[in-house]
């Protein structure tokens, strides 16, 4: 071969380069000119869907973030919004959440006995499976045993309260589940457990075979691509409106927006604050928020196993010293509000009257000095579980430095976010939580040693709230638990952000149940 250089190129002259740069700049500017509308104030959003009776028929296509090839029709496997949106229309749960409260679905009541040793479920009559057979207690017993089996992908939080495998059918419409510890409000626990009822004898979940009792049945399914659903006309809660529902699995938020923009979808769930700020990207489209009670709470949990956070003065100093307004502005771009350090907003028994702490930098600095914390290292750990968590953590670290702490940031991937060993070495950990029940809110963080707040009064109050069968006692216990957390707890919940979506103006019937990120689509349809 010739020894000449592999790729002799002509010299790039200034003139050709400048000429080409001009062309490039013009090309780059073209989309910018048409793409942006305005900056400054947040574009207004519409809360909820249009009112009015939707017409029967039509196909509603909705895009959710999915889990790619790992998606499944087995309701004990998937955890992505696309999986959960699918499960919630194909299957029914025993109870579901609406407005923060447990409401009856396949079970009409759940009673704990006086000794709190078992719980009796009364089941709804007249419910049929997609294949036309009647729903009975045997199906619920099968579901509980399937859920409790060690072969399941993830353990159920219910196993701590109920002996699921020992549940028994008493007749066709009653199920008795033995409890492992006193359960005061079984309906709320069951509603929050993602317990989708499957038919007795179900062991495989393939597209042609899967049956549920939900408002839509599966006609085709490809993991990470789409689910095609058809209306189940005999649905016990009234048949849906849209004839067909198509769930599209689109992971990237911008790709979801694009799908709606170019007419391939009618709804894009969970869109970014930046997209919302630019306003609706086309005529006939609107940006919706899920309402104040469905906001996601963003915050940090202080690791009281470490020196600095174990000092109540340091905890108070951080709560007083951070600039919540700046965080809300920077992360939610106006689509949110400062929070009062409590998770659980929107749930039943949530204490609405706890005020957002006023900012007092001088006092915060003084408290840190008294605690001997000034100049000490303080490690903040974050992973991008929700959009903006990492940038919020960055800003938080800057604010802590301003208070005199030698704060630093550890950014990790979501796969290692809750790694116990990693968390142990950090003083504060990013923690977002949607509007879930207080039972879940308070048990979930307590399950991790590094996130828990070991406080006698708190633990007693939570135990009472979970076990008492008296409504008044429960409300009082939850109030007490929340006052402890607000007064001296280890939560720095600084803000609540809207959950936004992009939808065709005529699309209606999107119902927030467990989470606005995977709304219930049983009554989805189009208004005239």
């Amino acid at each position: 071969m010739s020894p000449s250089p592999a790729m002799p190129s002509p010299p790039v002259t200034r003139r050709t380069l400048l000429a080409l740069l001009g062309v490039g700049a013009a090309t780059a500017a073209a989309p910018a000119l048409t793409g942006c509308t305005s900056d400054g104030a947040a574009a207004p959003t519409v809360t909820g869907a249009p009112t009015g009776e939707p017409g029967r028929g039509g196909t509603a296509r909705l895009a959710f973030a999915g889990a790619g090839a790992a998606e499944s029709l087995d309701p004990t496997v998937g955890t992505s919004p696309c999986d959960l949106a699918r499960y919630s229309v194909v299957y029914d749960t025993l109870f579901f959440f609406a407005d923060g409260q447990a409401k009856p679905a396949l079970a009409t009541s759940a009673e704990a006995d006086t000794e709190a040793e078992s719980c009796t479920l009364a089941l709804r009559r007249g419910v049929t499976w997609h294949d036309g057979t009647p729903f009975t207690a045997a199906d619920v017993v099968h579901t509980l045993a399937y859920r409790a089996s060690p072969d399941r992908v993830s353990p159920s939080e219910l196993a701590a309260y109920f002996d699921l495998a020992a549940a028994e059918a008493h007749g066709d419409h009653t199920v008795v589940i033995p409890t492992r510890r006193p359960v005061g409000d079984p309906a709320t626990l069951l509603a929050g457990a993602g317990l989708y009822v499957i038919k007795k004898g179900t062991s495989s979940f393939s597209a042609g075979k899967v049956v549920g009792t939900g408002p839509y049945r599966v006609t085709a399914f490809k993991a990470g691509v789409e689910t095609r659903l058809e209306r189940h006309d005999d649905y016990w809660d009234g048949a849906g409106y849209a004839e067909k529902v198509v769930l599209l699995s689109v992971d990237d938020a911008q790709a979801r927006v694009n799908a709606v923009k170019d007419g391939q979808a009618d709804y894009a769930s969970d869109i970014s604050f930046t997209t919302a700020k630019a306003g609706p990207p086309g005529t006939g489209l609107q940006i919706r928020d899920a309402g104040k009670n469905a906001r996601t709470t963003y915050g940090f949990v202080l690791n009281v196993g470490r020196d600095l956070p174990s000092d109540p003065r340091v905890r108070q100093a951080i709560k007083l010293g951070i600039d919540r307004k700046a965080l809300v502005e920077a992360v939610f771009l106006g689509y949110g509000a400062p929070a009062n350090d409590l998770f659980g907003a929107g749930a039943k028994y949530y204490l609405d009257d706890v005020p957002v702490p006023g900012r007092d930098v001088a006092k915060a600095k003084r408290l840190l000095k008294e605690a001997g914390a000034t100049g000490k290292p303080f490690v903040v750990r974050t992973a991008e579980y929700e959009t903006g968590l990492n940038s919020a953590a960055g800003l938080f670290v800057e604010q802590l430095r301003g208070l005199g702490l030698d704060a630093s940031l550890v950014k990790v991937t979501t796969a290692e976010g809750y790694d116990p060993a990693g968390m142990k070495a950090c003083d504060a950990i990013s923690f977002p939580l949607g509007p879930v029940s207080l039972a879940l809110t308070y048990t979930r963080s307590a399950a991790f040693k590094t996130l828990a707040f070991p406080d006698e009064e708190l633990e007693k109050a939570v135990a009472t709230a979970l076990s008492t069968t008296s409504e008044a006692d429960r409300a009082e216990a939850w109030a007490k638990a929340q006052r402890v957390m607000a007064e001296r707890g280890n939560w720095v919940a600084w803000g609540r952000g809207d959950v936004l979506s992009l939808a065709k103006e005529k699309l209606t019937g999107i119902e927030n149940r467990e989470s606005p990120k995977y709304p219930w689509l049983g009554k989805v349809g189009f208004v005239a």
């Binding site: 002509p10 790992a70 399914f221 490809k222 990470g224 789409e226 694009n258 923009k261």
Partner: protein, 316 residues
Amino acid sequence: MRADTARYVAGRLGTAAVLLAALSLVVYAGVDLLPGDPASARLGPDATPEQLAAARERLGLNEPLAQRYLEWAGGLLHGDLGTSANGTPVAGMLAGRLGNTAVLTALTILLLVPLSLLLGVALGRRAGSRVDGTGSTLLLLTTAVPEYLVAGVLALVLGAQSGWLPATSLVPAGDSPLVHPEVLVLPVLSLLWVSLAYATRVIRAQTLTACRAPHVEAMRLNGIPERAVLCQGVLPAVLPAAAQIWLVTSAGLLGGTVLVEIVFNYPGIGKVLVTSVSTGDLPVVQALAMLMGALTLLATIAADVVGTAVGRTRSV
């Protein structure tokens, strides 16, 4: 010469087998070092440390690395790609998607071959002219633009803004993307954009060298028509190098569609890779890394063999 070539090919294949074995070790151990593990991927963030420990025990994750590697490699030899963190066989998860990515790659190569050859030879023969100057600079600039930017701008301008083409490649369940050619246009364009510049530049350089080679000059001096000079003198010198570039590019494309697949939500293996890495589903990552590594290795060897077959180059 024949026997020599056969021996060379056999030698290359032998090396490939050794390299594949080494690759499997690197992939398994390397992926094992990634954050997360199948147990935490399986149970999710809500699992308690006790539940995690029990799951690790059940999945055999407490066994020594060497033992786990041997079991995994043994499975590979039988065509068993392992089981994903959520219990699904990895082979089933990849089956349809590998085909989808292959469709993207094949279409890109189909367009790349004639376009890069035409452009490269045309520029190479006019080396030094204004056309060559502008063309080469343009190519240099396009290679400098990252593919996700190209894909993003294409999705915005030709897709979402104008509505001419779908900005999101939604393929109905059960259909092949080939049934919906409109979803392929933008992803293929984005991939072509990046690979075309590179292949064209190599072909242009080869053409330039060939045009100045003594045998071509001799043909010209003998009054052979320019067309014949091109076909019999220049192209035979250019094609082997071009074929090598096309092969290497196709191997690169199989693994390099990741960003384009993400931007367009195209259901290929690139998307599986990203999801699996972010959820810590290591068995899937290991299978994919092995698959992509093996394909790249095979394409490189094929390129070597092509080079040898025409007696051009030989890497030892």
